[in-house]
Symmetry: C2
Subunit: 345 residues, 2 copies
């Protein structure tokens, strides 16, 4: 005999009372509760989760699905681990645990999620690396699992998401460059179907138009979201007939590769070419000249993600009266030397 049965026997009371005491039900004699709690502590009893889950229909676990793509692995500040802290600080208020579900590289993310959802390992999900068309969203809606997507998507319609303010970043970068006299501004965008690529390029285009600058497709350089992609972007930019005087990067690590390619060509960022990077991150901090980029708190993003997710869950929604609103997450300009010069002066 083990589990709650053993504990109950040891205390010489019924398992029902033990369960009620442990779960903080009000209808338990305070002395009884104390005895139960003490005995549980002493014997190291914690309720078997499978038993609880089966009975309650709830696992008290929130899943964070991550993809261990090369990009994610090489990203130098562990984006997800950073977000994790903020997530947990909120989830722990409700005794919810966070588990990270790493989708194997060789498995289709949709199939992986389907399996995890069907097994009912988690009560709710956070998905990331949202694609422009993302079947996972339809799946989660269909199976009625509460979820929030980190990244917008055209799939799913009315679900909840949180996304970085790509529009704001693109507009700020373009405004800043134009104010320094730049007219030919290139952009390095991801070559895959990730949704942020579309949003970013679109915002860039609109910002240009606002300044009366015609959009030139040749200045949209499609590369991998990696350091290598940044190198490639530099390479392609140098081969353009009509060269840009500035470039905006969409992914943090691109700056490193770009600097490398520029260095090879004897081009100095901030003197010969204006460069604006995306999210500030540790590796980029060592670039010389320092990179103008954008800053955000991963922890705060985690808090927002958790609160939004809980707002979509009927059992917790009452604590989050703001409701399950989709959010554009702002980034703050961190000016550096890489775009310091003016063309007009």
């Amino acid at each position: 005999m083990k589990g709650i049965r053993q504990l109950a026997k040891h205390l010489d009371i019924s398992i029902g009372t033990v369960s009620r005491a442990l779960n903080g039900r009000p209808d338990v004699n305070e002395d009884t509760r104390k005895r139960v709690l003490a005995a549980a502590e002493e014997l190291g009893y914690v309720a078997n989760q499978s038993g609880r889950s089966l009975r309650q229909g709830t696992t008290n676990v929130i899943g964070l699905m991550i993809e261990s793509s090369k990009e994610t692995v090489e990203n130098s500040d562990n984006f997800f681990l950073g977000v994790t802290g903020g997530l947990q600080s909120v989830l722990s208020r409700h005794k919810l645990d966070l588990l990270m579900l790493p989708c194997p590289n060789d498995e289709d993310p949709h199939e992986y999620l389907k399996r995890m959802v069907a097994r009912r390992i988690v009560d709710a999900m956070i998905i990331s690396a949202t694609q422009r068309v993302d079947k996972r969203i339809d799946l989660l809606i269909k199976t009625k699992i509460p979820f929030v997507a980190l990244g917008r998507s055209t799939s799913g319609g009315n679900h909840t998401w949180i996304d970085l303010d790509f529009e704001g970043v693109a507009a700020c970068a373009v405004d800043r460059l134009v104010s320094k006299g730049h007219r030919r501004i290139a952009i390095a965008a991801p070559s895959n179907d990730i949704n942020l690529g579309y949003i970013f390029v679109d915002a860039y285009r609109k910002s240009l138009e606002r300044h009366g600058i015609a959009f030139d497709p040749a200045l949209v350089i499609r590369v991998k979201s990696s350091e290598q992609g940044g190198y490639q972007a530099g390479h392609e930019m140098l081969r353009l007939e009509s060269k840009p005087s500035a470039i905006i990067l969409i992914y943090e690590l691109m700056a490193i590769g770009l600097y490398r390619r520029l260095n090879e060509a004897g081009i100095v960022p901030g003197r010969d070419l204006a460069v604006i990077g995306f999210r500030e991150e540790p590796r980029g901090k060592f670039l010389q000249p320092s990179l103008t980029c954008f800053r955000m708190s991963l922890r705060d993003l985690g808090v927002e993600l958790a609160e939004t997710l809980l707002a979509t869950m009927p059992a917790y929604a009452e604590h989050y009266p703001k409701g399950a609103r989709s959010t554009i997450w702002p980034l703050e300009l961190a000016p550096g030397e890489s775009d310091a010069f003016s063309l007009t002066s």
Copy 2:
């Protein structure tokens, strides 16, 4: 009605037969099995994990406990995500899923693990960031959860672990430096209780003795395992009365901070001071002059971890006849320019 019951009703057979068919039992008519599989696929049925777990006493989940300390978060190549790929490639052979359990910063790792273990969320655990004295190991032994520790410890006695070859790295680094004429070799070691610190310093000491060089405690510089710690190490080294001509670093990111401090002092690595770093990693790749350090495959380490863990699990041990041996994981020297000069020439 839902779950297996619904599926059985739909097929007009008993739930027992459905279960047997789905689980690949031999005693099922092949036609029946095909019908069941097809219907499950069609209706999207996957067995509820809580039901299975409760009945079987097994969750088919392996946990990887990680700590989201600042060090881990800032580590630039996502060590754990790198290991994850190798782990999953082995675990998937046995239909085991890997879940990452991130211990919140404000929770004691021992308490966290205790809770996770008691809830029986996983069948086995991989723990990391092993401390010299690590109560988690005693806990896992006591509760008889199969596990493997990534990192040696003095706790626990006869458990299975895998650890990097700190001895080999220290010996190789010292040998290399001594062969270039260095006699005063400093070492930057972690200031906390993580076990690798003890091992590394010990190996360093023995290597020196092998060359007849007296151990000088002043040359063991205790700093945080971070970029900032590397800066600090440089700072403290410069204040030594009798300056070393070489320094060995114990943590990958230290090199970046060290280079920064050296740069401030006008000291050029590889010309004025020999520097040997620890594990090769993306951020260090951009250091000038290039850093002499050590290389390893995170994926291969993941494979080894998984195979070792499975060998400790009775249900899988037969597939891993090598058994559950503790392993010292080798690193390969990746020579750079940072220790290129000789004192003797």
